[in-house]
């Protein structure tokens, strides 16, 4: 008696689950989707690239998901399926390769470097990395565990100093937000992030930034649902349009 009730309840539960997944994968007839996982710092440039790619390829939708590179690698190793992965550093790309989720040799398509973001007008007259340690200065940077933080560590070593940060954030956008919100006097961010927020911050370049140039590798993934489309998008990013868009957003793209 109870057994049959259990079966009914379980069946109901299964139906519920089936309903959820059916709703999630609903998609227009004939439309194909290429799924791209990209580092958060690529948000502005990849949004633009995806828009142009869709315009040139009718019936193709680019589904973009931005997150920290390490988060994306973790998702991929846990079985998430996608077509293309663009990382903000080679360290995380190596992790993906080692985990066996990449489908080819990753290729560097852009470079980025750090700059000091300060409020418009540079009220504290910050001109160098050393100025960040002036008494009373509120500086925010990335934690060493994330790419922008390990880049910060490298430039600090190159400059022979250690920045007394008030907070070590988990991503570069959080650092930028603290500066734009007026809660920090300066922050170490990527050139591209400072450029994206150019109406609120200005950047102070420093020579040591050349010692920590971040390579952005891109790769097509194993078990890609749309391998051919993925390859096409990857070529697009590495092609003339990609270079143009990436450069316009402040990346180095050779």
């Amino acid at each position: 008696m109870i057994g049959s009730r259990v079966v009914v309840a379980l069946a109901g539960f299964a139906l519920l689950l089936a309903g959820c997944s059916a709703g999630g994968s609903e998609q227009a007839q004939g439309e194909r989707t290429v799924t791209v996982l990209a580092a958060a710092s690529l948000t502005e440039s990849f949004d633009e690239l995806a828009g142009r790619f869709e315009a040139e390829n009718p019936g193709v939708r680019v589904q973009l998901d931005y997150a920290g590179s390490s988060t994306l690698v973790e998702q991929l190793t846990q079985g998430r399926r996608a077509d293309v992965f663009a990382s903000a550093d080679t360290k995380n790309m190596d992790k993906a390769s080692k985990a066996g989720v990449t489908g080819a040799e990753p290729q560097v398509f852009a470079t980025n470097e750090l700059t000091i973001a300060v409020p418009k007008g540079n009220p504290d007259h910050i001109a160098s990395l050393a100025d960040l340690n002036a008494p009373g200065r509120l500086v925010v940077q990335c934690a060493p565990q994330v790419p922008c933080g390990s880049a910060a560590q490298t430039v600090e070593q190159a400059a022979g100093l250690r920045i007394n940060a008030a907070s070590e954030e988990n991503d570069v956008k959080s650092v930028l937000r603290k500066v734009t919100a007026g809660e920090a006097d300066a922050g170490l961010v990527y050139v591209t992030d400072a450029k994206a927020a150019a109406d609120q911050v200005q950047s102070v370049e420093f020579p040591e930034s050349q010692r920590a140039i971040n390579d952005y590798p891109i790769v097509s993934l194993k078990d890609a649902p749309e391998p051919e489309l993925g390859a096409r998008f990857l070529d697009y990013v590495r092609g003339p349009v990609g270079k143009e868009v990436l450069t316009a957003h402040g990346f180095g793209a050779e």
């Binding site: 109870i2 009730r5 259990v6 309840a9 379980l10 539960f13 920290g68 390490s70 988060t71 973790e74 509120l138 925010v140 934690a143 565990q145 994330v146 940060a165 008030a166 907070s167 070590e168 954030e169 988990n170 603290k178 919100a181 007026g182 809660e183």
Partner: protein
């Protein structure tokens, strides 16, 4: 009890227990001691326990009286007040953090005044305590207020007719009735403060030893070393279970 209730009940329990067990499958016992004694883990645990204790005391000192006021005061608009008290429970913690930041941050109306006086809250341990108190205090208020409402107010009335003043009545009649509920509410408040994440990272920032509590350390560590993050997660789970189990069993059970 209808037997069919066992099925959803078991599923509900599985939803809570299985993911926590899933954590265990990611732990490498050989690395565990090293991971748990790293300076990052020790600093975070130490900071978390200290700030959560202070937040719990603050919740008790300020939230306790608020609960009494909500339950006993004859006020217009008590319902609205109660809804306001519940707000931190339903708001995403990040919203709480932003709210604290825009009031008490350097550019906020109150924070600006503090800044002029040479006081800075964001990026300090005090900010962590404030964020934890903001999200955890409602547990104390709601728990106590519920107990006060279900407690029989006639005892207090009798005490009053026997000549006891409001303070004596509160001390000798109300407070003893509240003790079990007080226990469970304090435990819940402490446990919630221990797990606080969103408001802290938004308002207080994240710096080892100063503002990086255990939940923040788990988040940061997970960016580069998932095994270490899982080890710290386990630490937090064990700590929460200890708090709920040892301090709370009696108080959480029954009518409280």
């Amino acid at each position: 009890m209808p037997g069919v209730l066992w099925v959803p009940a078991a599923l509900a329990l599985a939803l809570i227990v299985l993911p926590v067990l899933g954590l265990l499958t990611r732990v490498d016992p050989a690395r565990l001691p090293a991971l748990l004694t790293s300076s990052a883990a020790v600093d975070a645990l130490d900071l978390s326990v200290r700030t959560s204790l202070v937040a719990t005391v603050l919740s008790l000192v300020f939230g306790g009286p608020l609960a009494v006021v909500l339950a006993r005061a004859r006020l217009r608009g008590v319902r609205v007040l109660r809804a306001v008290v519940l707000l931190p429970l339903v708001l995403p913690p990040v919203v709480g953090g932003l709210a604290l930041l825009y009031l008490l941050g350097r550019t906020g109306p109150l924070g600006g005044l503090l800044d002029d006086a040479g006081l800075r809250l964001p990026y300090t341990t005090a900010a962590v305590v404030l964020a934890q108190t903001f999200v955890a205090m409602p547990f104390l208020v709601v728990g106590l207020e519920g107990a006060l409402r279900s407690a029989d107010a006639r005892y207090e009335q009798v005490a009053a007719t026997l000549g006891a003043g409001p303070w004596l009545t509160f001390r000798r009649v109300t407070l003893p009735m509240l003790l079990p509920a007080l226990g469970s509410s304090v435990v819940l408040t402490f446990a919630r403060a221990l797990g606080e994440f969103g408001a802290t990272i938004t308002f207080a920032g994240s710096l080892q030893g100063t503002t990086r509590t255990l939940p923040l350390a788990i988040y940061t560590t997970a960016q580069s070393d998932v095994d270490a993050a899982v080890a710290m997660s386990l630490l937090l789970v064990v700590l929460a279970l200890l708090v709920i189990g040892l301090a709370g069993t009696k108080a959480v059970e029954g009518r409280a």
